[in-house]
C-alpha cells in the first residue's frame, strides 16, 4: 500500500472504532442555558453577557413550517475557549484570534491531572510543579503540543457553590504560577483547561503576575478552556481532545463543544 493508502487506512480504522464503540466520543461541555453562571467582574467594568434565547417561530404564524431561535451570549459564556488576544499579554501575537489561529492545534493529545482530593480538602488549591512531576512519574512525560486539563470535580457543583463568591472574591482551584510556566516553557503545551469559570484560581488577582494562567498562557500564544465537564470520564493520558471555537471575526474566544475521543475501557 502507498503512504496515501496508509493514511486513509488510519482514519478508516478510527471510523470503524467509532462505529463499534471501541472509541467513545465523550462530551466535556456544559449545556448553554440561561442559568449557567458566568464570571462576575467589579460593577464598573463591562460584564460577561449571559446566555439568552428568544424564539423566532415555532411552526406558527411567525414561521409556519419551521422552528428557530435567536440567541445571544458573550464570547466567554459557558464552556468556552480563550484565544491569546483575550489577554493583554497576547494582544500583539500573530494568529491570536479565533478566526486566525491554526486549526491544526484544535485537535490534539490531552493529559488530565487529577486534583480532586486536594480540591476537596482546599477550595483554593493551587496545582504546583510538584503535582505535575508526580503525574509524570506515574503516567510518563507530558508530550509536547498536548492539552493539559486540571481535573478538580468542580463541575459537579451548582449555582452559588460553583461560583463560590465571598466578600473577598471567588474561591476556586487553579494552577500556580510556577506550574503554568513549567507547562508552557518546558512542556510546550497547546493549551490548559479547567472545570471552573476561568483558567486561573478564584484568588488569582492577588498572584504575581495577577491571573498568571491567562497572563503566561496567552502571552505565549497558548489557549485556554474553562467550565469543562465530565473530566472524570477521561483517562490520564491516551485521549484526543477536539476543541474548535466558532470562527468569529477578530474574536477573542467563543462557547464551543469540547469533545474527547477516548479508547473504551476493557
Amino acid at each position: 500500500m502507498s503512504t496515501q493508502d496508509q493514511t486513509v487506512g488510519l482514519l478508516d480504522n478510527l471510523a470503524l472504532d467509532l462505529a463499534s464503540g471501541a472509541v467513545e466520543v465523550v462530551d466535556l461541555t456544559h449545556t448553554l442555558d440561561p442559568d449557567f453562571p458566568v464570571i462576575i467582574l467589579p460593577p464598573e467594568f463591562g460584564q460577561c453577557a449571559r446566555f439568552r434565547m428568544e424564539e423566532v417561530s415555532r411552526y406558527d404564524a411567525r414561521g409556519p413550517a419551521w422552528h428557530w431561535h435567536n440567541f445571544s451570549c458573550g464570547e466567554h459564556t459557558g464552556t468556552h475557549f480563550d484565544a491569546p488576544i483575550h489577554w493583554v499579554s497576547g494582544r500583539d501575537l500573530p494568529h491570536n484570534t479565533v478566526d486566525s489561529l491554526p486549526v491544526q492545534k484544535l485537535v490534539g493529545r490531552v493529559c488530565v491531572i487529577d486534583c480532586e482530593a486536594e480540591t476537596a480538602a482546599d477550595e483554593d488549591y493551587e496545582m504546583d510543579r510538584a503535582k505535575i512531576e508526580a503525574f509524570e512519574a506515574e503516567h510518563g512525560k507530558i508530550p509536547p503540543q498536548s492539552w493539559v486539563l486540571m481535573r478538580t470535580g468542580w463541575s459537579k457543583r451548582r449555582g452559588a457553590d460553583y461560583v463560590n463568591l465571598r466578600e473577598d472574591g471567588a474561591h476556586s482551584p487553579g494552577p500556580a504560577t510556577e506550574a503554568v510556566r513549567f507547562l508552557v516553557d518546558e512542556r510546550d503545551i497547546i493549551g490548559f483547561g479547567t472545570e471552573c469559570i476561568g483558567t486561573d484560581s478564584g484568588q488569582a488577582a492577588h498572584a504575581d503576575p495577577p491571573y498568571p494562567a491567562h497572563y503566561i498562557l496567552h502571552g505565549a500564544g497558548r489557549y485556554g478552556l474553562q467550565c469543562l465537564n465530565g473530566l472524570d470520564r477521561l483517562p490520564p493520558t491516551g485521549a484526543i481532545l477536539l476543541a474548535a471555537p466558532l470562527k468569529i471575526k477578530h474574536g477573542t474566544g467563543s462557547p464551543l463543544r469540547v469533545l474527547a475521543l477516548v479508547p473504551a475501557a476493557g
Binding site: E54, V56, A61
Partner: protein, 420 residues
C-alpha cells in the same frame, strides 16, 4: 448710521490643514425662568409673547404681571409686524461668541402688538421700515429675536447672522442614516434641491438590491456609504471615514410594525426594532456626535444639526403600534439627553415628528397619511427656519397640540377613550 451689507454667503473652501479649527463658543446662557419659556416657542416656530388680555397688548421683557394693570399674563401667539426704530452695528463685545463675529447688527423694533424689542437685524432691513419679527434659537439654545423685511424671500438665507440661528442645508454635507427608508430617497432628492453640497446616503446590506438603491445611485451629489445601524463596527468605521465631513446628520431609520404586548406579537421583532431604532440611535450619536460637536463653529459649512425623524407617538403611545411607539419614545428621551450634551457645541439636536407615512406597513391606517416628498420638503424648511421641534403633517400637529394641552387626556383618547 449703519451700512446695510450686501454680503452673499461665501462658498465653503477646502480647510487649510495648518490652521486650528475654530472652537465652538456660546452666546449668553443665563435667562430667567420666563425667559427660558420663550425658547420653547422658538423651538416650534411659534411667535408667542406674554399677553395681557385686559390691556389687550403684549409685554416684553417677560414679567410676572402686567406693568400697566398688574393682571396676570398668559403666553399667546401675537402678530409679528413692527417698525424698526433704532439700530446699531456693534464692533466689540466682552462675550467671546460675539467678539469673534463682529460686526454684529442689532436694533429696536416697536411691535404693533405693544412692546419694544431688542433684536438681531437681518441685512435686509433699515431703520424706519416695517419689519417682520422672527423668533429663533441661538447657539446657546435660547430664544432671540431677528427682524426681517421678508421671511419668505429667496435670498433671505444669505445673511451670516441668520445662518447662526438656523441649520440651513445650503452648502452643507448631509448624512442620511437610512437612505433606503421611505423618507430617505425623498430627502436625498430634496436636499440636492436645497443646495446641499454633498449627500451621503447610508445604506445597510448593499448586497440586497432593490429599486430604491438603483434610484439613489442615479442621483447627483449623492454618494452611497455603508451604514448598518445594528452593527457598531459599521457605524464606527463610517464615522472614522466621514465623521469630520458630516455637517447635518438626518436619522431616518424606522421599522414600523403593528403590535402591542398581549397580542402574541413577536418578541424577536421587537428586539430587532429596539436594536435598530434605540441602540442604533445610541451608536450613531456616540460615533458621529463627538466629531460634529467639535465642528460647530467650523466656517460657513460648520456642523449644525443632528436630526431625527420620530413618530409623534413618541409623546404618547399608539397601542396599535405599541412597541413601535415605545421605541420612538425611547429615542425621543435619548434625543433630549443628546441635546443637553450638545449644548455649547453649536450643533442643534432637532426632532421632526410625523404621523403615519404613506407606506406599506401603515396600509390599514386611515388617512391622512404623510407623503415622503412632503416630509422631506417640510423637514428642510424647518431646518432653514432653525426649528428644534418640527411637526410635519396634520396628524403630527394634531397629536402634538393635544399632548401639550393635556397629556393624560391624549393617552385616554389613544387607549380607546372614544369607544362607545
Amino acid at each position: 448710521m449703519a451700512e446695510i451689507g450686501e454680503s452673499r454667503l461665501p462658498q465653503p473652501v477646502k480647510k487649510n490643514p495648518q490652521l486650528k479649527t475654530a472652537a465652538p463658543l456660546v452666546p449668553p446662557l443665563r435667562r430667567s425662568r420666563l425667559g427660558l419659556r420663550l425658547a420653547g416657542f422658538a423651538a416650534r416656530g411659534e411667535f408667542c409673547l406674554p399677553f395681557c388680555s385686559a390691556c389687550e397688548k403684549a409685554v416684553w421683557p417677560p414679567r410676572d404681571a402686567c406693568p400697566t394693570c398688574l393682571a396676570e399674563l398668559a403666553w399667546q401667539e401675537v402678530g409679528n409686524q413692527g417698525q424698526l426704530i433704532a439700530e446699531s452695528v456693534l464692533e466689540t463685545s466682552p462675550e467671546l461668541y460675539f467678539r469673534g463675529r463682529m460686526p454684529w447688527r442689532i436694533g429696536t423694533v416697536r411691535l404693533a402688538c405693544g412692546p419694544s424689542i431688542m433684536a438681531h437685524l437681518h441685512q435686509q432691513v433699515q431703520v424706519g421700515e416695517q419689519v417682520e419679527m422672527g423668533l429663533h434659537l441661538d447657539k446657546a439654545q435660547r430664544a432671540v429675536f431677528m427682524a426681517y423685511k421678508n421671511r419668505e424671500g429667496g435670498s433671505v438665507n444669505e445673511d451670516s447672522q441668520l445662518r447662526e440661528l438656523t441649520s440651513d442645508p445650503k452648502y452643507r454635507r448631509v448624512l442620511i442614516s437610512d437612505a433606503r427608508s421611505p423618507a430617505g430617497l425623498a430627502l436625498a432628492k430634496a436636499l440636492a434641491g436645497a443646495e446641499a453640497r454633498e449627500i451621503f446616503a447610508g445604506v445597510a446590506e448593499s448586497w440586497r438590491r432593490d429599486a430604491v438603491l438603483d434610484a439613489l445611485e442615479a442621483l447627483d451629489h449623492v454618494t452611497l456609504v455603508p451604514l448598518d445601524l445594528t452593527d457598531s463596527s459599521s457605524v464606527k468605521e463610517l464615522a472614522a471615514e466621514i465623521g469630520g465631513k458630516v455637517d447635518i446628520l438626518i436619522h431616518t431609520a424606522d421599522q414600523p410594525r403593528p403590535g402591542g404586548l398581549l397580542d402574541g406579537s413577536s418578541l424577536t421583532i421587537a428586539q430587532e426594532m429596539q436594536d435598530r431604532l434605540v441602540t442604533g440611535y445610541m451608536r450613531l450619536a456616540s460615533h458621529f456626535g463627538p466629531a460634529m460637536r467639535g465642528r460647530g463653529a467650523d466656517g460657513v459649512n460648520s456642523a449644525t444639526a443632528f436630526v431625527t425623524i420620530l413618530s409623534v407617538y413618541a409623546h404618547a403611545n399608539w397601542p396599535s403600534y405599541g412597541t413601535h411607539s415605545a421605541c420612538h419614545a425611547a429615542v425621543y428621551s435619548l434625543s433630549q439627553c443628546l441635546r443637553s450634551e450638545m449644548l455649547g457645541s453649536g450643533v442643534r439636536v432637532v426632532n421632526a415628528y410625523t404621523g403615519p407615512l404613506e407606506q406599506d406597513w401603515y396600509e390599514s391606517v386611515l388617512p391622512p397619511k404623510l407623503d415622503p416628498q412632503r416630509l422631506a420638503r417640510d423637514l428642510i424648511k424647518g431646518l432653514q427656519q432653525g426649528l428644534e421641534d418640527i411637526y410635519i403633517g396634520d396628524v403630527a400637529r394634531d397629536v402634538a397640540s393635544r399632548f401639550r394641552e393635556d397629556a393624560k387626556l391624549l393617552e385616554i383618547e389613544l387607549t380607546g377613550g372614544a369607544r362607545e
